[in-house]
């Protein structure tokens, strides 16, 4: 096929882009660049028109198309347009937008597979309906030449269709057979091929029974199950990819020519990078210049910031709070501390991969059973009929078709599609195929504290002993800083209606605090050691007014929304709950008391967490781990099933089976119930399929099965199973 040359390269890539590019700007001869923006809050027709219309008005934008299903905009622009500019512009006019790293999104490749399956499904559906039409005529009494002609037409439709649509099963069966294993696709392929071959032979012999419709409906129903399965997983994958793509990993590298922004993967050992306040440290390294404080909570779970200066060793994922620093890279990307943690994770993962899903368990019993049955039937009838191979083979094929795994093939995907769709609406993303089944078995939940149960944001405590004057001074000092405690103090003081005192020559002392002049006196807001204050046992900042006794402002980390709901729901389901954290005992005990968890552990190292979870697992508990930090990754991987919030570090999200997309923890309680209900439906579906077989197999074995009976059994069991899946408890 030749590709016509076009003035609009984007239009060739995406036919729909043509609609938008038609009017106005069609490029300036340069190669177009494609950017993707995430639009998390877009939901209506007006939003689509607003985003597309406004983007089209921007300089350098050639085409813009919103995908509401994925909540994403694809924009073709001139090479010099920065994604950030467009994202900021959209956010500015009221459509919250974030830049996506297009390299992380492979949805185009996966889409190809989905389309391929859909195409095969469509062909199978078309062929099945046409052949069924002809079969009905045969069943209702067409005979002799008419029947033969109908059979031949059916053969002409069925043979190429099976060759095209059933390839999916043949390939998978062949892969399994080549390594000497049996999977569900082996009996499926055998049934389809034998049914087709037998029917062709019977047609040539002017026989009475042909199973063309059975071979096709088998293909159609099973492909439908396969497609559902694929859809569920691809939705999960694309959402997970989007989470990863939201974090565009960049670093500021210092060169002789000045700072340049580079991708973290381009950094090498020995490079110097600049880390500005508020930014995450992109690499492992050693501080060269600068004084600051580091928030290590994602790595250690400890909330209190740690001082850093030259020669301090910093790790990927820490957040720089106060002063700018330059860092010499000692390890980047795959070699960083994230990767070292991956070793721990890899060990735990192999343990989990040994989990066999219900579908695999069923296949293990089912595949050998039907083969033995069919083979047994063949030899038994060969002996009874005194050597009539054709008759015996007919019976064996009937047995294979009747035991059709249609219902089995639909039993699991129909339920998981329905259930994961419901969970997704509630903001839970199932990443792993067996996550649902594993979640249903959970009887103990282990929570991390910082960032999981809490929001990870300090809020200033109400204190009636604070004098208004102190607050005014503190506010004036805090206003200029981006330190989280200062931000929180500003917010709290503003909310109380405090006006800032008049202070001159304010300067931030990196790693220590803020200093200024008030009425000629030196005032300072910052760390206890700097002011010579007695530290209180809690997150706090201190204010001193020229030598007077320092005043402390204490802060508490607020609970994440929905934590109470989730914990009481889990308790009501009779689950054991443990809180485990790397933070100091006082802070952990406080949170444990507030949410009503009696079993808690503090000062736990990452290895300790993983060990604790593994020990619970060994004692027969099925553990659900909920965590967000790097210090949780090993424990997340060691648990039977794991959940992390969307705000978690990427490493934590990668090892988790489920990601909480929203802020609230509330869906957790319902998720376990939903998983239980889904697993029950899967088992019921297996029972239904087995029930049909219990009736149909004896009929086939004694040689009474007709193509009509086979078609009825197949359709009825498939429909019952699908309907049963929809009976899922309302979420």
């Amino acid at each position: 096929m030749s590709v016509p040359l076009s003035a609009c390269p984007a239009c060739d890539a995406a036919p729909l882009a043509k609609a938008q590019a038609g009017k106005g700007y069609a490029g300036n001869g340069m190669e177009a660049k494609r950017i993707m923006l995430s639009l998390p809050h877009i939901y209506c027709a007006a939003c689509i028109a607003g985003v597309e219309g406004n983007l089209a008005k921007q300089d350098g934008v050639r085409a813009a198309r919103v995908n509401l299903t994925l909540k994403r905009a694809t924009i073709d622009v001139d090479p010099d347009v920065e994604p950030e500019t467009l994202a900021n512009y959209l956010t500015g006019i009221g459509f919250e937008a974030y830049e996506l790293d297009a390299g992380q999104l492979t949805s185009t490749a996966t889409d190809k597979m989905g389309k391929d399956l859909l195409m095969r499904l469509g062909v199978a559906g078309f062929a099945m309906m046409n052949v069924m039409l002809l079969s009905v005529a045969v069943w209702s009494g067409a005979s002799d030449a008419t029947r033969d002609m109908f059979h031949w037409i059916s053969a002409a439709i069925a043979t190429p269709t099976v060759g095209f649509s059933s390839q999916v099963f043949f390939k998978s069966a062949w892969t399994a057979l080549r390594v000497g294993r049996l999977n569900m696709d082996v009996p499926i392929s055998l049934a389809i091929l034998l049914a087709l071959g037998m029917s062709l032979y019977e047609t040539a012999q002017s026989g009475e029974h042909a199973y063309f419709d059975a071979a096709l409906s088998l293909t159609f129903f099973l492909l439908a199950g396969r497609y559902l399965d694929y859809r569920t997983r691809s939705v999960a994958r694309s959402a997970a990819e989007e989470l990863a793509a939201l974090e565009v990993p960049r670093a500021l590298r210092l060169t002789d020519a000045g700072d340049e922004q580079v991708s973290v993967s381009d950094l090498s050992v020995g490079d110097i990078v600049r880390v500005v306040p508020g930014a995450r440290v992109p690499v492992d390294g050693i501080v060269v210049t600068g004084e600051s404080e580091l928030d290590r909570s994602l790595l250690t779970g400890e909330r209190l910031p740690v001082a850093a200066g030259p020669e301090t060793i910093v790790s990927t994922g820490e957040v720089n709070l106060t002063g700018p620093m330059t860092v010499r890279v000692t390890a980047a990307g795959r070699d960083s501390s994230l990767h070292r943690m991956a070793d721990l994770v890899a060990i735990a993962e192999t343990a989990r991969n040994r989990y066999t899903s219900l579908a695999d368990k069923a296949a293990k019993i089912y595949a050998p059973l039907v083969h033995i049955l069919a083979l047994g039937a063949f030899f038994a009838w060969l002996w009874i009929s005194g050597g009539d191979v054709r008759f015996a083979l007919n019976i064996a094929v009937a047995v294979l078709i009747i035991t059709c795994p249609c219902a089995l093939g639909l039993a699991v995907p129909a339920v998981t599609t329905a259930a994961s769709g419901r969970l997704f609406k509630q903001g839970m993303l199932l990443k792993s195929a067996t996550a649902m089944e594993r979640l249903a078995e959970v009887d103990h939940v282990v929570f991390d504290k910082t960032g999981t149960l809490t929001q990870g944001k300090p809020v200033m405590d109400e204190n009636t002993q604070h004098r208004t004057q102190d607050l005014e001074i503190a506010l004036a000092l805090a206003e200029g800083s981006s330190h989280p405690l200062a931000l929180s103090l500003t917010q709290a003081a503003r909310a109380k209606g405090i006006t800032p005192a008049e202070i001159s020559t304010v300067r931030e002392v990196p790693g220590k605090g803020i200093e200024g002049l008030w009425n000629g006196k030196t005032v300072r807001l910052g760390r206890a050691e700097w002011l010579g204050a007695n530290a209180v046992g809690q997150t706090a900042t201190y204010l001193s007014v020229s030598g007077a006794r320092p005043v402390s402002f204490t802060f508490t980390d607020n609970l994440r929304e929905g934590v109470d709901t989730a914990i009481s729901a889990l308790k009501a389901q009779g689950m054991g709950i443990t809180l485990i954290s790397g933070d100091v005992p006082a802070a952990v005990a406080d949170i444990a008391g507030r949410v009503g968890i009696s079993d808690w552990k503090a000062d736990t190292l990452p290895e300790g967490k993983a060990e604790y979870v593994a020990r619970l697992g060994k004692s027969g508990k099925r553990v659900l781990m909920v965590g967000d930090g790097l210090n949780d990754t090993a424990a997340l991987a060691a648990a039977h099933v794991s959940i992390s919030p969307a705000s978690a570090l990427e490493a934590a999200r990668v090892v988790s089976d489920i990601v909480l997309l929203g802020q609230s923890m509330a869906p957790l309680g319902e998720a376990t119930l939903m998983a239980k209900s889904a697993t029950r439906r899967i088992k019921e579906n297996f029972a239904i399929a087995a029930g049909y077989n219990a009736i149909a197999i004896p009929i086939a074995l004694i040689g009474l099965a007709t193509p009509l009976a086979a078609a009825l059994a197949m359709s009825l069991s498939s429909v019952t199973v699908s309907l049963n899946a929809l009976r899922l408890k309302k979420g």
Partner: protein
Amino acid sequence: MNVLVYLIPVSLLLGGGGLAAFFWTLRSEQYDDPDGNSQRILSDRWDDTPPEE
């Protein structure tokens, strides 16, 4: 029974037409954004002048 000579080709042709239409919808990416498509019908952007091909 001679009517079958017309009816069977007709039924196959109609079915084939349906299949061809399905292929076309699949190729022109009409299943990529089901939510968006159901909303776009409410937009009056192309009401006066349809998009140029």
